[in-house]
Amino acid sequence: MAIFIDENTRVMVQGITGNQGTFHTKQMLAYGTNIVAGVSPGKGGSMVEKIPVYDTVESAFLEYEPDAAILFVPAPFARDGVLETLSVGIKVIVVVTEGIPVHDAIEIIALARINGAVVVGPNTFGLISSGKCKLGIMPHQYYVRGPVGIVARSGTLSYEIVANLKEAGFGTSTAVGLGGDRVAGLSFIDVIREFEADSETELIVMIGEIGGTSEEEAAHYIKNNVKKPVIAYLAGKSAPPGKRMGHAGAIIERGQGTFQTKVQTLESAGVRVAELPFEVPYLVKEFLG
């Protein structure tokens, strides 16, 4: 088992003919992802890495019935691209695009929920079920099968921690990037709930940061619903209030989203919080020896 995607997932790449789309299609194929079709308006009939390209999602869907999509579509067109994908009934949609207007993100996430679909992102590195399917942009050499489920708000920091874990001998079941924007399709809770039910995952690592309250809400959920051990690392301890630290969502506003509140709430829910990123494998070792 894995969460959201596995070796049977049939993937469609939207924006496949752009630089990013083509590069990451190649990378995903190299990891073994089953990409069946690409979409790029005006480029229908061409091929990228031997993957057939269609003008519209509907035409690609009629031919291949993909069950997951990943978007490398420029921000001004991302809303339309996601709605197009929702309209054919695809249930897992990864939005890599950064800089999508927040009102657009709210709309697509709300519509996805009504349609029973999951939006991963926006502004995410995607998700990867080790050894099975990569639907994202992470450097995949660090993702080997193992018992640790990863859920993170940031990309490179999670790669760092996954690489440290691999070096210490711990692989990952699935890693999910929530995305760095102010609103995200998935919350820590959504992913932790899946990990709790996933037979492959024995321990959960959450990688959070300042801003918003999703870590705090996760803490309340964990306290009442999660039996598997949870370890957290949070970035932004030293961030000044009122400043956006790279991610649109990484900002302390009106006293909300501080590092201290997050750590306190998580610790009182029984989550072990690592002070520095390289301490995560030591904490994992305590539980998984």
């Binding site: 927040v102 942009i137 450097p139 920091l157 102010r182 630290m245």
Partner: protein, 367 residues
């Protein structure tokens, strides 16, 4: 992008929300001139901070002389780091009562939220929660009459007052959506002779939506360096330490700062060169950092999409052209790590494999 009060009020007026009669002025004589047109007035410093009232940035004046003197005083002020160079002179309102009304985005619940209170005129953080109505708006439905009725019921507004309030609410919601706002706030929303008037305006527009808000005047609150970084597509925040930091990825950059603090150092900035930074972007980021004249520079790259050899080549290029004198601590791992390390070693720069070693070294060098 935060808007000045007078800009927010222009937007309010554009959707039909009443605002006090007023004019923007840049010198004391002009302020006196406006007084002669409108009589008793309030003069308000135009700054992008909510701390204006407490800092003495608002003055009530009763004659032209007073208007001139107070305007002169306000124009010399610096409030919360913002220098005052513009004032809004407005006709003084007859206030019956003060309300609060705002619409913003609840990031966790992923929807617009209306905040309303019959206790306006003070900091909303100081209003007891039981006096604040918080109503979540289903983003697919948008604001509907039944929602407005429920908000008015919770505020205990009746009849005429309820319909007046709802009218303002609908106009404000329209503005919120059409202008891609993250926040629209009226505090206080003044009840004056039976009608509502927006005595203040706080509007923040989503930076990511500016591409489709072309007619809005751009407001700059970034420092010179932050502005330059923004134009280069880099996320950059100036801090007050002496170790310049560059990392790829926002989370990684934050974690790097945290680690520098942990070992007793002080970072000079936050700089995310991007999770997929290429050579050109890296070179520009480096040049920006050098311009801050730090004591030490720490570069923390976890190559994923970013290739270590690209970063190393960018650094070598800048070093050739700029003659970098400050000590540089380089942490380089991941994609094409070996190639990157070799390029750096060839120009006499050593690299570290872990963030910890690099951060400790940077702090040591800064001492």
């Amino acid at each position: 992008m935060k808007l000045y009060e007078y800009m927010g009020k222009d937007l309010f007026a554009g959707v039909g929300i009443a605002v006090p009669w007023g004019k923007v002025v840049g010198d004391p004589l002009e302020a006196a001139g406006v007084f002669k047109e409108i009589g008793p007035a309030v003069i308000k410093a135009q700054v992008l901070t909510g701390k204006r009232g407490k800092a003495g940035g608002i003055a009530f004046v009763n004659n032209p002389r007073e208007a001139q003197n107070e305007a002169a005083r306000l124009l010399g002020m610096t409030i919360d780091g913002f220098k005052v160079d513009r004032l809004l002179v407005e006709r003084k309102l007859h206030i019956e009562s003060e309300f609060y009304l705002a619409i913003t985005i609840d990031g966790t619940l992923r929807c617009p939220v209306v905040l309303a209170s019959i206790r306006g005129g003070m900091d909303i953080e100081e209003v007891p929660p039981e006096f604040i109505v918080k109503y979540l708006v289903n983003p697919i439905l948008g604001l509907r009459p039944f929602m407005a009725r429920e908000i008015c019921r919770r505020l205990e507004l009746k009849d005429g007052l309820a319909s007046e309030f709802s009218a303002v609410l609908f106009k404000l919601y329209r503005l919120f959506r059409e202008r891609d706002a993250e926040l629209v706030e009226i505090n206080p929303l003044v009840l004056s002779e039976g009608r509502f008037i927006a005595a203040d305006a706080k509007v923040t527009i989503d930076d990511d939506a500016l591409f489709r808000q072309k007619d809005l005047v751009r407001v700059e609150e970034r420092t010179v360096l932050e502005k330059k970084a923004y134009e280069l597509g880099l996320a950059f925040v100036e801090l007050d330490g002496d170790i310049a930091v560059m990392a790829n990825g926002a989370g990684m950059a934050m974690a790097t700062l945290d680690m520098i603090y942990y070992y007793g150092g002080r970072p000079a900035n936050f700089l995310d060169a991007g999770g997929g930074a290429g050579m050109e972007q890296t070179a520009q980021a480096l040049e920006l950092l050098l311009a801050t004249e730090p004591r030490v520079m720490m570069i923390n790259i976890f190559g994923g999409i970013t290739r270590c050899d690209d970063v190393a080549n960018a650094f070598a290029k800048v070093k050739r052209e700029k003659n970098i004198e400050v000590p540089v601590v380089f942490r380089l791992v991941g994609t094409n790590e070996e190639a990157g390390r070799k390029i750096l070693n060839d120009i006499g720069v050593s690299t570290y494999r872990t963030m910890r070693e690099a951060a400790q070294k940077a702090v040591e060098l800064a001492r």
